[in-house]
């Protein structure tokens, strides 16, 4: 006889990915609990710029999934769920010098190949954007992307009445068997049908063999000014290089200027290999702000009110890890989005909820989702390969 279950599914991690999985399962009628060591949006989801961006994704799997998730995010917004969180807005990519020109050419080719909802509506100089500065040699204007502050989306997802919040509580250990999973939640035993681990940088605590590493990015918040002066995010092409080629390959600061709904700007970001949110330095701030101000001179009239390091969960091969654990179909991971969780969370939530319920993925996404499977890091399998 099967043991009594406390919940059908336990989601570990109340970031945007965990919250989306939880909502999709609750919507399907399952009894869902969400545990988090701190609380909702406590890590990368709460420290994000909120760009729902296809332009910044690596060509291939990530760009295709981002396209699908952008369309689905729009749908969830239209249905009301993400309405208060999501807003369509233009995005701007700028560059100077040979490497960035090439990166912009590659971006235009990528978007054309995707033939998705994101399109280039102008390609020219700084005149395309009122307020653009002399630091911009070339500017492309994109339509079709959007903005969704992570904490707002998390709040919307977790408001579902069939979701039981369990925080603050840390999962110390788990053991899966044929009919469910035993979980030690902060010293309290819990039995659930399926465990979904959306733990971000905390992933290695429960899954030591998954190569998820903290990657820090220094972020700057300015004081508030007129709302809407800059209609959308202004991204240096060096940022695309950093995302597609890996950190350290860009010669110019990979700066992103993001206008927030409050009239403030969020300006990022460096890429550093550590997990300390307080590790910030004036030299990096000046490096980022000098380029940001050259691109958008009105920034010099603002004040920096806060700087911190946002910590993202990066994976050694640059792809997130999504899927059941090898040999434990009742334990599913969804982690390592390194800042792309804002954009991918809608689609990944739906697909992971499908996995939990034993549904086979839609043909459209099967191959791309399969590319994210944790089995690619399975020590047993790697020994076989060796």
């Amino acid at each position: 006889m099967a043991k009594a279950q406390d919940h059908d599914v336990l989601i570990a991690g109340a970031g945007i990915v965990g919250a989306s999985v939880a909502w999709h399962l609750a919507e399907a009628g399952l009894k869902v609990a969400v545990a988090d060591a701190t609380g909702p949006a406590a890590a990368a989801s709460g420290a994000s710029d909120g760009a729902v961006s296809v332009a910044s994704k690596k060509p291939g799997v990530m760009a295709r999934l981002a396209t699908g998730s952008l369309l689905y995010t729009r749908e969830l917004a239209a249905r009301g769920l993400l309405g208060p969180a999501y807003a369509a807005r233009p995005s701007y990519v700028f560059g100077a010098g040979e490497d960035e020109m090439a990166a912009i050419d590659a971006l235009i080719a990528k978007l054309a190949a995707l033939a998705g909802p994101v399109r280039v509506c102008a390609d020219g100089g700084p005149k395309l954007l009122p307020g653009a500065g002399a630091g911009i040699e070339r500017l492309v204007v994109l339509a079709g992307e959007g903005h969704m502050p992570g904490h707002k989306a998390v709040r919307a997802y977790l408001a579902h009445p069939r979701i039981t919040p369990l925080w603050p509580a840390r999962i110390n250990a788990f053991a899966a068997d044929d009919s469910g999973v035993e979980v030690d939640l902060g010293g309290k035993p819990l039995r659930v049908g399926v465990l979904v681990a959306a733990l971000g940088t905390s992933t290695p605590a429960l899954f030591p063999w998954l190569p998820v590493l903290p990657r820090a990015g220094q972020l700057i918040v300015t004081d508030a000014g007129p709302v809407g002066a800059l209609p959308g995010s202004l991204t240096a092409a060096a940022y695309l290089l950093a995302k597609t080629e890996g950190p350290g390959r860009e010669a110019l600061p990979p700066v992103v200027i993001d206008p927030l709904g409050t009239g403030q700007f969020l300006i990022g970001s460096s890429r550093e290999e550590h997990a300390d949110p307080t590790r910030v330095d004036f030299a990096t701030l000046r490096h980022l702000l000098a380029r940001a101000a050259a691109a958008y001179p009105a920034l010099t009239e603002r004040r920096v009110i806060r700087a911190f390091a946002g910590i993202r969960a990066a994976v050694s091969d640059g792809l997130p890890i999504v899927g059941p654990m090898p040999g434990s179909p009742r334990v599913i991971v969804a982690t390592g989005f390194e800042g792309d969780g804002i954009c991918l969370s809608a689609l990944i939530g739906r697909e992971v909820a499908g996995m939990v319920r034993g549904a086979s993925p839609g043909a459209e996404w099967a191959a791309d989702i399969a590319a994210l499977a944790p089995a690619r890091f399975d020590p047993a399998r790697q020994e076989c390969v060796a």
Binding site: G39, P40, G46, H151, D281, F282, R286, I305
Partner: protein
């Protein structure tokens, strides 16, 4: 070689006393202060043309300290109109203003004093409602009383001192509203050091002579605007009353001015005076001297000198004062109406806080509630938000603020970089 100088932030009693000790030990010291002259809050110097209101004892203390500083000659450099932006994990300090620079000092002494606590009340954000300390600084710099009727409310010895000062300037306050009952602790009061007693007696005599009503065990519960004036609702032990004023000064005690002060592992960072522990002027002077001497010893690899007995004495006196002024501020906080503004930067109210549900996490308070997210980064509201959100177990409102204060992007970019220079 790095910059051999020691940077002292704050040219008040603690900062200058530390600078004098360090210079005496042979160090080169750069003292910076945001004001246009040294003095800090206690010894704020009058504007050109205004007379000093300092008592003879205060004037003597300041002259003696400045003589110590002057005796060190070029070993102490004082840069005014200069603001401390913070220290980062590499040991780099940003200064903006007259002595703008990025520099890596040998050590950093933070002596940035105390700041006032002001508990939110309905109407506390209206124009002409300020802190008592703000009025005190105004009086010290202009030597003029404020125009119109002044009402002082809150709790702490500053209210009586400021009230007496207003009497002396020929402009007695309308009333003093004190939440505690400081006169009903005669035994505690008698145990205070004589200078405290002499000063309190002098203040009280002035207030009595001018017939200033002093309500104790009373609270200002609401401020509203009425026919061009401020109307204060007062709950006294005998009932409620309304008082009209042109300016209302609030004060609910002092605390270290430590918002945004972070440490760095890259260099020694010391906090001295009121920004370490708010114990008042005499303690700040003693702490500055002792801390300066201790840092000099540490840099020379010598054993730490003995702790200052003057400091221990002041700490004891301040603990007595705190008992004399003890009162139940939690009840007043709990009773705040829903429309009371808690976060002044973004106009967030008690109702906005309550809407986050029971026991919100600090992340929810910040991201969903936007408490502590404005220009002051929680400097004024964090304590109250923490206490209102979880009265039983207040949690600090997130990671420490950095940089130390809002910094103009233009100034941050323009500051000369002295970190790569060669020093001999």
């Amino acid at each position: 070689m790095g910059d051999p100088r020691i940077l002292v932030v704050g040219a008040g009693l603690a900062g200058l006393a530390a600078a004098a000790e360090l210079a005496c030990a042979g160090h080169q010291v750069l003292v910076v202060d945001q004001a246009r002259q040294p003095g800090g809050a206690v010894h704020r110097q009058p504007l050109p043309g205004a007379r000093s209101l300092a008592s003879p004892a205060q004037a003597r203390r300041w002259r003696a300290l400045m003589a110590d500083v002057d005796a060190q000659g070029a070993r102490i450099e004082i840069a005014c109109n200069t603001r401390f932006g913070g220290v980062d994990h590499t040991g780099t300090v940003l200064l903006t203003g007259d002595a703008a620079a990025l520099l890596q000092p040998q050590a950093l002494v933070l002596a940035v004093g105390a700041r006032e606590k002001v508990q939110p009340r309905p109407g506390w954000t209206l124009p002409w409602v300020t802190t008592a300390g703000a009025l005190q600084v105004e009086i010290k710099t202009t030597s003029e009383p404020p125009a119109g009727r002044v009402l002082l409310a809150g709790s702490g010895p500053l209210l009586l001192a400021l009230g007496a000062e207003l009497v002396r300037l020929g402009q007695p306050p309308v009333a003093i509203i004190e939440a505690a009952r400081p006169f009903s602790h005669p035994l505690q009061s008698l145990a205070l050091p004589p200078p405290y007693m002499v000063e309190a007696a002098r203040h009280l005599a002035r207030l009595v002579r001018a017939r200033v009503p002093v309500f104790t065990g009373a609270a200002l519960t609401r401020i509203s605007e009425h026919e061009g004036a401020l109307l204060a609702e007062i709950a006294t032990r005998k009932g409620s009353l309304g008082l009209a004023a042109d300016r209302i000064c609030l004060h609910d005690g002092i605390r270290p001015n430590d918002t945004g002060l972070t440490d760095s592992t890259a260099l020694p960072v010391l906090r001295l005076g009121d920004c370490r522990e708010a114990l008042g002027a005499a303690a700040a002077l003693a702490d500055g001297r002792a801390g300066g001497a201790a840092l000099a010893a540490r840099l020379a690899g010598l054993p730490a000198p003995a702790a200052s007995s003057a400091l221990a004495r002041e700490a004891l006196a301040q603990a007595r004062l705190a008992r004399i002024y003890a009162h139940d501020s939690a009840a007043a906080l709990a009773a705040l109406p829903a429309d009371t503004v808690i976060c002044r930067c973004e106009n967030r109210t008690r109702a906005d806080l309550d809407a986050l549900g029971p026991s919100p996490t600090t992340r929810q308070l910040r991201l969903d509630g936007r408490f502590g997210m404005g220009a002051c980064q929680g400097r004024f509201c964090a304590d109250w938000v923490a206490r209102l959100a979880r009265p039983d177990a207040p949690q600090p409102l997130g990671i420490p603020r950095w940089p130390a204060r809002p910094i103009s992007v233009a100034e941050l970019l323009a500051a000369p970089d002295l970190t790569s220079g060669e020093f001999e």
